[in-house]
């Protein structure tokens, strides 16, 4: 028995809608098998993983806090991936956004003004964009593979942040803990509904980025340019589009959004710099981008689902003692199933048994 693919005459609109849902369904089945293998009741485990975090108001706030950076980064990555530029160093751009955005509240920690926060956000975006500009520059100037260079820069950014908070930026009144000063009130991202939980402005940024990017990709020439150059650089050149400029645009755009996510996380959720500011948001966002089928609106929904796996992982650890690594396994499964199901969009999948193959062969001869 073997699997054969038959190219569809046109891509299937039905499966293009359905494939993320099929992938989610398959992930849940795989998850149930995994939980059973770990000796837990799969129904209980799935409940505490996917439903429990949604039953309480405070954890809905947590969901938005976790979804915001994922959506922001993934929306930027979708533009990058659509233009066939593989920026997989968003984690590093997230960190550099957090670092550059924190310059003001760390050096001018007594400055209280309404202008501090906008300044931080803009600097964060610039930091992320410049850091993403390095692989873009190396790719356009020296033809260097952007996958490897952007990824290597993640490790460099992590070490740089580590050095900052243990060295020059360590809080002088912090008893030698590897942390910066805590930000003052004017440097902290405001909460949306302080009465019920901690969700902050980050999710609003994510929403705005989603809508603007959707509009750009759908209704603006730039969006068309992204798609054309992504599908065929040659066709793009005939249309007069420059792939060099596109490489810079894609990297700076995604880097700026990752940087915004970084400074929003540092300013909103953490309130200071510390060695570890991201639970691998930059990598999980790659899954978000693909689950959302590289469409900003889809990504918004996908970001909430992936945020749920972070929360579900914590909830399941507390309520039924599942190891916290389960969340990452889940995320990995999800990406695999999403990629596998995408095949259905362009191909019909047929199982060919030995008998059938033989009769077909006879018919042909």
């Amino acid at each position: 028995m073997r699997i054969e693919l038959e190219k569809r005459p046109a891509y299937s609109a039905l499966f293009s809608m359905l494939s993320p849902f099929i992938a989610l369904g398959l992930t849940i089945i795989a998850g149930a098998i995994l939980f059973t293998a770990l000796g837990k009741n799969p129904i209980d485990a799935l409940y505490s993983f996917f439903i429990e975090p949604l039953t309480e108001l405070w954890s809905l706030h947590e969901l938005l806090i976790k979804a915001a950076p994922l959506i922001l980064i993934a929306v930027g990555l979708s533009v990058c991936f659509r233009s066939n530029n593989w920026n997989i160093g968003a984690e590093g751009q997230f960190i550099m956004g957090g670092v550059v955005g924190s310059i003001v509240p760390i050096y001018f920690h007594e400055w209280n003004s309404f202008i501090v926060l906008p300044l931080m956000l803009i600097m964060g975006m610039i930091g992320g964009a410049l850091y993403a500009g390095i692989p873009a520059l190396l790719k356009t100037r020296f033809n260097t593979n952007e996958i490897l260079s952007s990824l290597m820069l993640v490790y460099v950014a992590e070490l740089f942040l580590d050095w900052l908070v243990r060295g020059p930026w360590r809080n002088p009144e912090g008893f030698n803990f590897p942390e910066s000063r805590s930000f003052n009130d004017s440097a902290v991202l405001p909460e949306l509904f302080p009465a019920s939980g901690g969700a902050n402005m980050g999710i609003i940024f994510a929403l705005i980025a989603t809508l603007l990017t959707w509009f750009m990709m759908r209704h603006m020439l730039k969006g068309f340019e992204v798609s054309v150059l992504g599908q065929s650089a040659r066709a793009g050149r005939f249309a007069g589009f420059s792939s060099t400029k596109m490489i810079f645009f894609a990297f700076l755009f995604s880097g700026a959004l990752a940087g915004l996510a970084g400074i929003s996380e540092v300013s909103g959720a953490i309130g200071r710099l510390q060695p570890d500011i991201s639970p691998a948001y930059g990598f999980t966002a790659i899954i978000v981008a693909f689950l959302g089928r590289l469409n900003p609106l889809g990504i918004f929904a996908a970001g909430i689902i992936l945020a749920l796996t972070y929360l579900g992982g914590e909830a399941a650890q507390i309520s039924i003692g599942l190891p916290d690594k389960v969340a990452r396994v889940f995320q990995g499964f999800l990406l695999f199933f999403v990629l596998a199901c995408d095949t259905l969009i362009h191909y019909r999948v047929r199982l060919v048994t030995a008998v059938k193959a033989r009769t077909e062969g006879e018919g042909a001869s």
Partner: protein, 306 residues
């Protein structure tokens, strides 16, 4: 043992996993497949090798299991990209993400345990050669395999019919298919070989380099191995040179950290990653040379037409 000898010995230990993983990936890429999941396969190899060695008490069984784990894990990638023609870049990333998660889960109960170390095998007579004997002929099995794999792969690719077919597939899968070469089957085998090599590289980390299990202990070596293949312009002997160069950089920065020099340790730790970027820039600057050496079908999916 002199100090120089000790340093050289640590360099070989640091270079071996890079060498193995890169040689495996070289064969995969020569067949036209880009598997970015090397990091995931290494870390799976490391955790399974460690677990198997702990449970059976034998480091050799551990290494064998690590190799098998890498190979099995790569099948997942092969099925998605070769049978279901999924995007190779995205699937490779998926393999890495899943590998890092899964290995953390499997290894959770092994954290902090003292591991079993793969012992050295002294080759009679040769190991008594002054200066180089101890260095080259008194090593563990994985080291010997890594060196052997360079020459084995070199011979296979350039001196055998099967190797020629594999390179033909990598350069033009359409033409190879028209000639009656089985593209998909060959690529499956190549990917599995790459997986086994990465698994063994992982086993080296958890059985030789630091005989213990630490989460994410591959620490970017899979990505460095990928860069090494580009650096070596897809030639086995250059991979050998590149891996030892990187081993030297890694060990050099560790010694520099120990000596201090007043340079913050984080900057020194960042050196191997920065060196990778610099080397990539230098190699890929020459556009024509890169184009000439890159397997022409690299990263492209193949669906046989009838």
């Amino acid at each position: 043992m002199t100090l120089a000898e000790a340093i050289l010995l640590t360099i070989t230990t640091a270079a071996t996993p890079l060498l193995l993983a890169a040689i495996g990936e070289l064969v995969v890429e020569r067949s036209g497949v880009l598997n970015l999941g090397v990091e995931g396969m290494i870390v799976m190899g490391a955790v399974v090798a460690f677990a198997a060695a702990q449970l059976t008490g034998s480091a050799y069984l551990g290494a064998l299991f690590g190799m098998a784990a890498g190979c099995l894990f790569s099948l997942l990638f092969a099925f998605l990209t070769l049978t279901l023609v999924a995007n190779q870049v995205a699937t490779g990333l998926a393999l890495t993400i899943l590998g890092l998660g899964l290995s953390g889960m499997i290894g959770e109960s092994f954290v902090g345990q003292r591991g079993v170390q793969l012992e050295e095998i002294a080759i009679p007579v040769l190991s008594s050669i002054p200066l180089i004997g101890n260095l080259l002929f008194n090593q563990d099995l994985i080291f010997y395999i890594s060196i052997f794999s360079v020459f084995g792969v070199s011979w296979f690719l350039f001196k055998t019919r099967l190797g020629l077919q594999l390179r033909a597939i990598g350069d033009s899968h359409g033409s190879a298919h028209a000639l009656g070469i089985s593209v998909i089957k060959t690529r499956y085998l190549a990917v599995m070989f790459g997986g086994a090599c990465a698994g063994l590289a992982g086993a080296q980390l958890s059985l030789v380099y630091t005989p213990q299990w630490v989460e994410n202990m591959s620490a970017g070596r899979g990505w460095i191995a990928l860069a090494l293949v580009v650096f070596a312009s897809w030639r086995p002997l250059r991979v050998l040179a590149g891996a030892y160069l990187f081993g030297a950089v890694t060990i050099g920065q560790l010694h520099a950290q120990a000596l201090g020099f007043g340079i913050p340790s984080q900057f020194l730790s960042a050196l191997p990653y920065l060196a990778t970027i610099v080397v990539l820039v230098i190699i890929s600057r020459n556009r024509r040379l890169t184009l000439m050496n890159t397997p022409a079908s690299l990263g492209q999916s193949f669906v046989p037409d009838r």
